[in-house]
Each structure stands twice: as structure tokens, then as C-alpha cells.
């Protein structure tokens, strides 16, 4: 096996794939390697941690068929530190991998490729496919991933639920205390219900380049593939059922307020300072006088009370966790937001004032309030 490729291209490809390998906390040394395969002059770099795999197709000026694996991080860092604009030559000599570039060269111990797991394939003819613009994908996923859980005892909540409903593709996530849902694609023909691990999605987000304009998402029963230009990330799906969350979104609320996002965010953060002792619990109250008050009490330090002037249709009061509200306000984009609730233990709904198919729900806290 031998390839020749510009330093910058090789460095970029290696840095893209090596994170998955380096991040693999594995007892199996070969999983921290990158598989370099040249098959019919086509060069592919592959890494996997057995939860997901990343493949990068690398255009090369010279390519002789063959396959080898080398420690991903080591090779990636070596190549990254070579001078730019030079051509890098990578060749296999026995079980050694020789990297040369101008005056620089290195010899690394490779491992036979047969120890490297062969990745599962998706039969694209049978698979369900979607296409979406990079910007919409990024924005939509950022908005829902904030609500996903990292509690491994409830695996189905540690991912984002891709599901079709009434001919549209939605993504949703919940950790049991809050829920976020976004309509990702308006009109789709095929149907899907799949939970994609948040960790894989986080990696997809990192891999999204500036020059790609489309993400292709391909589902089969057990896995999903994200195609981003020359890079493909395949992830296993989370086995389990996602709750029928739509029933939880209240259609109507007693009290509907239109608030300035920055101002609401500021008063929430102020109240949160005093709410630390109480596990972040703050009290939001819409008063008849046309005032929305956010307050918190910390026995030890004192208390905090802030007010926003707003049109109030019906007075109401609710206790909630400040952190969840701050998170929600962070992923909303409009200058005005709608905060609607019915008091007691009914869910609170937060959305942009200019509706954009994004819904964020926060469950109130039990307790005084």
C-alpha cells in the first residue's frame, strides 16, 4: 500500500477521524488505530469505537492498493506538525508504516488490518433517506440536544428521537424534566422512528464542515449513517422505545405572556444566584397588575425578586428549575419569546414569539409555589 497526498488534506482527514479512535476508551488496542485502505485507487480512512464509526474518503495523487492500521492519534499529530504544502508519502513496509515528507520521515508499527472490525453496511436501496441543509440541521439539533439526558439507566432518553408525523420529520429529546421538539423537514415521503445517541450526534456536529451544504441521513433498522461530503459517520441506534411525547405538549395554557428574551434571561439568572441552595428552584408569577415576577429565596444568603412589566390576561404562579429555563432561553433565537403556563404542575411551554416549529417544555417543581 502506498499513497501520496498533500499534507493539509491528509492532516484534515486524520484530525476528522482520529477523534473517534482517540476517544475510544477501549481495552482493544486496535480500536485506537486508524484503518487506511486503498481499494481500486480509492483511499479511505476509518476509525471506530464500536458505538460509531467515521470514514473519510481521501483524494490522493498516488494510490497503490493495500490496507494497514496505525495508531490514529500518533499519525494525526505527526502529519499535523509537518510543513504545509508539501506532499506526504505513506507506504507500508512489512508491518511498518513509513511516512515521508521532504526531509522528515517516521516509521510506525502498524497492526494487521484483520484485527480491525469490519463495519456494518447499510443497504441503501432499502434504507430510509433524508436530505437537509447543513445550517438547518445544525440549528435544529442544537435546539433539541440541550434537553437530552445523560442518565445511562434510561438509555432511550440519552438520544435524539427522529420521527415522522403527518408527513414531516421531527427531532425530539427529553431528560424527564424537560422536552424539546423541532420540526426538521416539512415534507417527507418515507417514515422513520429511531433514537440516535446524542454522543454520535455531537460528533456529527463537530464534523460538519463549512463547505458542505447538505447532510444526508440514512436509516436502517439498527443503524444510521450521516453523509457529510466526503465524510460518513455511522452510528448504532439506541434500542428502546421513545415515549409518546406528543401527548405531553399542552395545546392550551391559561396564562400566555410575551416577554423580551434577554430580559427574561437576565432576571432568571439573577434569581438563579439565590436559588442554588434550593436546587435551582425559582418562583415565576404573573400578577394582575401587569407584572411578571421572578423570585427566589435562599435562607442563608437572602432573597431576590425581579419584575418585568407585561400584559397579563390571567394571574398564575409556578415553581421551576432556573437552569432549565436558562437553557431553553439560550437555544431560542427570537428577541421576543412566548412563556405560557397554567400554574400548579401543568407543563410550561416556551417558544419563539415568531413561531418556528420549535417547542420547549419544562416541568414545574413540586413544592411551595
Amino acid at each position: 500500500m502506498e499513497i501520496e497526498v498533500e499534507q493539509s488534506k491528509l492532516a484534515k482527514a486524520l484530525s476528522a477521524v482520529s477523534r473517534v479512535a482517540a476517544g475510544a476508551r477501549t481495552t482493544l488496542p486496535v480500536l485506537s488505530n486508524v484503518l487506511i485502505r486503498v481499494d481500486k485507487k480509492k483511499t479511505t480512512l476509518t476509525t471506530t469505537n464500536l458505538d460509531m464509526a467515521v470514514e473519510d474518503f481521501l483524494p490522493t495523487s498516488l494510490a497503490k492498493d493495500g490496507v494497514v492500521t496505525v495508531p490514529a492519534k500518533l499519525l494525526s499529530e505527526f502529519v499535523a506538525n509537518l510543513p504545509g504544502n508539501e506532499v506526504v508519502n505513506l507506504s507500508v513496509n512489512g508491518d511498518k508504516v513509513v511516512t515521508r515528507s521532504g526531509k522528515y520521515s517516521s516509521v510506525m508499527n502498524g497492526t494487521s488490518a484483520e484485527d480491525f472490525p469490519e463495519l456494518p453496511e447499510i443497504d441503501e436501496k432499502k434504507a430510509v433517506k433524508f436530505k437537509i441543509g447543513v445550517e438547518e440541521f445544525k440549528a435544529g439539533l442544537t435546539q433539541v440536544m440541550v434537553a437530552s439526558s445523560n442518565d445511562l439507566t434510561r438509555p432511550s432518553l440519552t438520544g435524539v428521537y427522529f420521527n415522522t408525523n403527518d408527513g414531516a420529520l421531527y427531532v425530539a429529546a427529553t431528560d424527564g424534566y424537560r422536552l424539546a421538539e423541532k420540526k426538521l423537514i416539512d415534507k417527507v415521503k418515507s417514515e422513520v422512528k429511531a433514537i440516535v445517541p446524542s454522543s454520535s450526534l455531537a460528533e456529527v456536529m463537530r464534523l460538519l464542515g463549512d463547505n458542505d451544504d447538505e447532510v444526508e441521513i440514512i436509516f436502517d433498522d439498527a443503524q444510521v449513517k450521516f453523509r457529510l461530503g466526503e465524510i460518513e459517520l455511522t452510528s448504532k441506534l439506541i434500542d428502546g422505545s421513545f415515549p409518546d411525547y406528543r401527548r405531553l405538549i399542552p395545546e392550551k395554557s391559561e396564562t400566555i405572556l410575551k416577554l423580551d428574551r434577554a430580559e427574561l434571561s437576565r432576571v432568571t439568572k439573577l434569581a438563579a444566584l439565590f436559588a442554588r441552595e434550593a436546587g435551582g428552584s425559582i418562583i415565576c408569577e404573573a400578577k394582575e397588575a401587569g407584572v411578571f415576577s421572578v423570585s427566589s429565596v435562599a435562607n442563608e444568603f437572602g432573597e431576590n425578586d425581579s419584575e418585568i412589566t407585561v400584559k397579563v390576561t390571567k394571574p398564575n404562579k409556578v415553581t421551576l428549575n432556573a437552569r432549565y429555563l436558562i437553557d431553553a432561553l439560550n437555544v431560542l433565537s427570537d428577541t421576543q419569546v412566548i412563556f405560557r403556563f397554567s400554574g400548579g404542575l401543568a407543563p410550561i411551554v416556551v417558544t419563539n414569539a415568531k413561531l418556528d416549529d420549535y417547542t420547549h417544555i419544562i416541568m414545574p417543581l413540586k413544592g411551595k409555589g
Partner: protein, 458 residues
Amino acid sequence: MFDVWKNVLAKLEQELSASSFLTWFDSVELLDIKDGTVIVGVPNVFKIKHIENRYNDKIKQALIENDVKFERVEYVLKSDTPKVKKGREVTTEEVMTPEKARKEHDGVRVPVRGVKQSTTGLSERYRMDNFVVGSNNDLAVSVAKAVIEHPGGRYNPFFLYGGPGLGKTHLVQAIGNEVLKNNPKLRVLYIPINHFYTEFVGAVRKGGMDEFRKKYREVDLLIIDDFQFIVGKEKSQEEFFNIFNDMHQAEKQIIVTSDRLPSQIKTVDERLASRLTMGGAFDLQMPSFEDRSAILQSMAEFMGVEIEPEAIQYLAENVKTNIRDLDREFKQIIAMAELRGMTPLELISGGYIDTTVRSSSTSKPTAKKIVEKVAKYYDLSVKEMCGKSRVAHIKTARQVAMHLLSEELQMSTTQITSEVGVKDHTTVMHGIKKIKSDLRLNFTLREQISEIRGSIYE
């Protein structure tokens, strides 16, 4: 037919390296044998092809040896069995519940049945009343007491770390014993992490994972000792992580000891590392001269033997490595004194004891050496450090030097003034007081001082 599969796994385990076996065959099961086809269920879509490519022949061979008649073996994806355990099926009502406002600890739950003493792994000789409290460990001890009062309360998990022989095992076993004393019905389990690993691997091999998990699900207080040995045992780490999460969610107390912080243990998952210390991380430090004297004193009381204050001072000055060594040297002197019919002091002054102590001790450092080591540690010259500079980090270094001079050499504040180049002994008093109070809250400072102390005695 499923017993056959256990034999197949046992054979594979023999033939493969432990890491390969655990990586590829954890939770792999025989699903069915039908019409000459053996159906093997693999829990991870990424593993199927590899198992088929690399291990098909070995599996077939093992099946034949176990008299299984078949034509072919098929590998299929099976539902993700409790690897990352499937959790309960989540129902809608359960998903979004109004979060409980943080509540007071609601008492320890009463278990269904008690546990015999012998199954706890605890040794009765470790108790709170024979644990000597000093400035090196008082913070950890007060937290330990809080844990005994309220298992599963504020300090959950309780993460305790420190060098060898400083009393980690003693303190955590004492907690276990005290908790049991308060409530004999609770299920307490003390287990060093390598035993946990052995148990886990055994369970994987014999297919006893359900039992293994059940055992840990039923524990009310779990004490894991020497967590640092988790290095390189990814699967047991994952399993421990699951157990940890379940227990923590159920507000059951977890206690973990280690010789360093989890973030400093290679290959420990970041999520696990941060969770382990979310109840706070508390350290046991090398005892100071005064602490060492107090420990010796209480050892003497505990054993009911007489020892002169001078002999105690001699030992405290000369054995500085850790408490375990102190204990050993002390017992040796007492035994020898009895044997020769001398008092410990006569033994020491007669030169009989010198050789035994020397093995674990080094000569008393000089004031100059301490000042030099502190300056070197903070990348300063002795001249820079000793003087009037008000620059914060230089001032801190100077105060650390004062602290160590007072702790290690028992120098008076007036003596210290000349060593660190300050005029007034009240400045020294203030400096020592400042470091003492900072030490209580500042973990970085504690670590720094402990490292410097180590370098002094190198």
C-alpha cells in the same frame, strides 16, 4: 442447549486475550438452534461482521466439540440486553414527572432482609473510635461522620483519596461498621475494585450477569476500595458506572477510595470521573509531626503499653513515610523492648533500634533545605522568595515555607523570621495561620504542600 453455549464461551475465553473476549463476546448469546442453523445473538451491530469473519471457525469448532449438530451458524443483531442495561421500559406518565423539589434526606429505606456480617467484607477491627483524628484528616473524618449520620445524604458519593498507608481503608471500613451498628438491617458491601473486577469477569464467563447485577442492586451502602486499579478494565468500569448510577438515583450511599483524583486516573471515563466527585473529594494527607505523635500516643493507649514521650518524639521524627510504617515501627520497638526487658527509650538511646528505623526514615531536614525546596517548587530563587515582595504568588510561597518550618522542624516563629527574611515574628504567625486556614478549603494548596513535603524527605 444453552449450557452448551457456556462451554463455547469458556473455550473462546481460553483461546482469546481477555480484552478481545470481553470486547467481542460480552452479552453474546445463543438464541436458537433450528433446522440445522445455530442462531447467535450479538448485541452490537458493529460487532456482528467481525465476529463472523474472525471467530466463526472457532465457534463452529467449539460447537462440534460439544456435540451440537448443525449445518451453519448465523449471527443476528439481538435486542440490546442489559449491557448498558435497558432500563425499565419508559412509559409516558413516567417520562415527564414534575421534578421533586430537592428534599431533605428521607431516611434510610428498610431493606427486605438482613445480611450476615461475613458477607459485608468488613473487618471489625476498623472502627471510628480507633481512628486518630489530626489536622491531616479532620475534614475527611467530619465528612465520614456526616455519612454515618445520613447515608445517601449530602456526601453521596463520598470520594476519599490519599497516598498508601494513610488510613483510607480504615476510615471507609469504619463507616461501614458504624452504619451497620446504627441499622443492622442495612446491606453493606465493602469490596476492593480488583475483587469487583474478578467477580465481574467470572459472571461474564459463567453467564451469571443477572445474578451479579442483582447482588449490587440490593446493596444499600457500597464501599469500593483502591479505585485506581480500574485502569485498563473498561468493561468493569462500564458496569460499575451503571451500578453507580442506579444506586445514586435510589439515594443509596456509595463510598470510593483511590490514591488520586479520578480525573488523574488514565482511562477513567470523564462522566464517571465527574460523578465520582460530585459529592466532593476529600483527601488524607501525610500526618505532621504533631499528628504522628498523637497517633503513636493513641497506639500506646490502644495496646495498653507504656512508652516514654521522648521515645514517641524519636519515632515521630524519624518515621515520616506513612501511618502503616509508623504502626510497624512502633510495634517492633514495643516487642523488642519486651523481649530485652528494657523500656523503649532505653532501647533507642542504647542504639539498639537505629537500624530498624533507618529503613523507613531519612535524616531530619535542615531549615535551609526546606526553604530551598519550597522556592524550587514555586520556581523562585531563595532570594526572591525570602524578602519583602508583596506579589501574591511569592508571598504564598513564603508562607508555605513558614508553615513547613513550623510543622516539620517545630521552629518558633522568632526562629523562622530569620530563615525567610522577615523582620517581625507576627508576620510569621499570620503567615502560618493563613496557610492553616487555606489548607482546609484549598485542595490545590494541599496537594502542593504534600508534594513539597515529599521532596524535602527525598
